[in-house]
Amino acid sequence: MASNWETLIDEMKEGSIRALTRLITRVENREPGWMEAMKRIFPDTGKAQVIGITGSPGTGKSTLTNRITRVLVDKGFKVGIIAVDPSSPFSGGAILGDRVRMMDVCDLEGVFVRSMATRGALGGLNQSARDVVKLLDAFGKDYILIETVGVGQDEVEVVRTADLVLVVCIPGQGDAVQAIKAGIMEIADIFVVNKADLEGADQVVMDIKTMLDLDMDTSAAKPPIIQTIAIKGDGIQELLEQALVLLKTLEKRALWQEVRVREELIGLVEKEIVGLIKKNWKKDGGLDKAVQQIIAREIDPYTVVQEIITPLVSFLPGE
């Protein structure tokens, strides 16, 4: 029996995990009524601290997330984890395999883990991830960890929704700095050199320091570089202490907040508009027809797009 949104929200606020997960699914799927639901829970958000964890595959992010969660739980905090994996561009399906690496903490009281696929498309994951973060926030989580693979554009975007970003790398990947995708370097608040027992760990630290020294802006404090062996738990306490200290630094949060809210607004609007356009376009086979015409070179894609956009422009204020 499908519960209505009101009931689910009330139950979620009372602590029902089932209601929370249902809300997450509905919001992620953009089921009718989702925006009203988000409006209703918005006043209950703004309390949780969001930590983004990113880096190339194989760097031990899930293990790290597992460890960090453990320490937070031991300190008495409630933790929500969003683990992101890429959707197949061909089938639209995905293997969500991060959870299995966090089995230690998944079943702990106060820990909630949700796996999400990127689901491709414009503003695809980043917007739903933001919404899921808000739901976890409203549910009462103190910390929300978002774990993604920093290789796709979607995943970089997701991490930008965080208050604090950890970028993870390991020795043996050649030039560590090259291995970290551009864009992620700039948003890193802490660099974590994991698997620090492997040969080359000190070199990685040097590489990162060198790269940071090249940064012209000498006024801002440089992000700390912390070595860990996540699988053993080494360095985790130190990492967490640094993270908690940085989270308290108001100055950085204020600056970032504006950027994030702006991105969120644009992301939301983009997604809604594109969704509406696509829906209309597909109706009556308009999109399919245009595709065939372009393939047959009867028309060019730019003309097609102009035909779609021009009528809309007249509705915009000030145009």
Partner: protein, 133 residues
């Protein structure tokens, strides 16, 4: 709306042979599902906890150990307890013919034995999963 069907694929109990489960997991991904793959040696509690948090539509259990009857029973009971009675349970693996009906009577929607085509599994899932939650 952008509905994706979420399927939990896992081995349950002590048996560690997961190749079949992996083949199914990847096959279901290629059929367009989002697959949460838990690997091996999961307990009924862990499976149900995951099923609820991940709000899956389907729980797929791979069992080669012969313990399918008690394990299926536990999972179905726990799902009901935690509010997951609408989650579809499918079982794959080494299941004797005579156990298929009793499993279905317990509430398992379908039992797949070795050599089952992924397409068939995908069909069953699409048939049984409701459109809206």
């Amino acid at each position: 709306m952008e509905r994706k069907i979420r399927v939990l694929v896992t081995k349950i109990g002590l048996d560690g042979h997961d190749r079949g489960a992996k083949v199914i997991a990847y096959g279901l991904r290629d059929a367009g599902f989002e697959v949460i793959f838990l690997g091996v040696r999961q307990t009924p509690d862990q499976v149900v906890n995951t099923a609820i948090q991940e709000d899956v539509d389907v729980v797929g259990l791979s069992i080669l150990s012969g313990a399918h009857m008690p394990l299926a029973k536990r999972v179905l009971e726990k799902l009901k307890e935690k509010g997951g009675e609408d989650i579809i349970v499918l079982i794959g693996g080494l299941i004797p013919e005579e156990d298929k009906q009793p499993l279905k009577e317990m509430g398992v929607v379908e039992v797949f034995t070795s050599g089952t085509d992924i397409i068939r599994v995908a069909e069953v899932i699409n048939q049984h999963v409701k459109a809206e939650k």
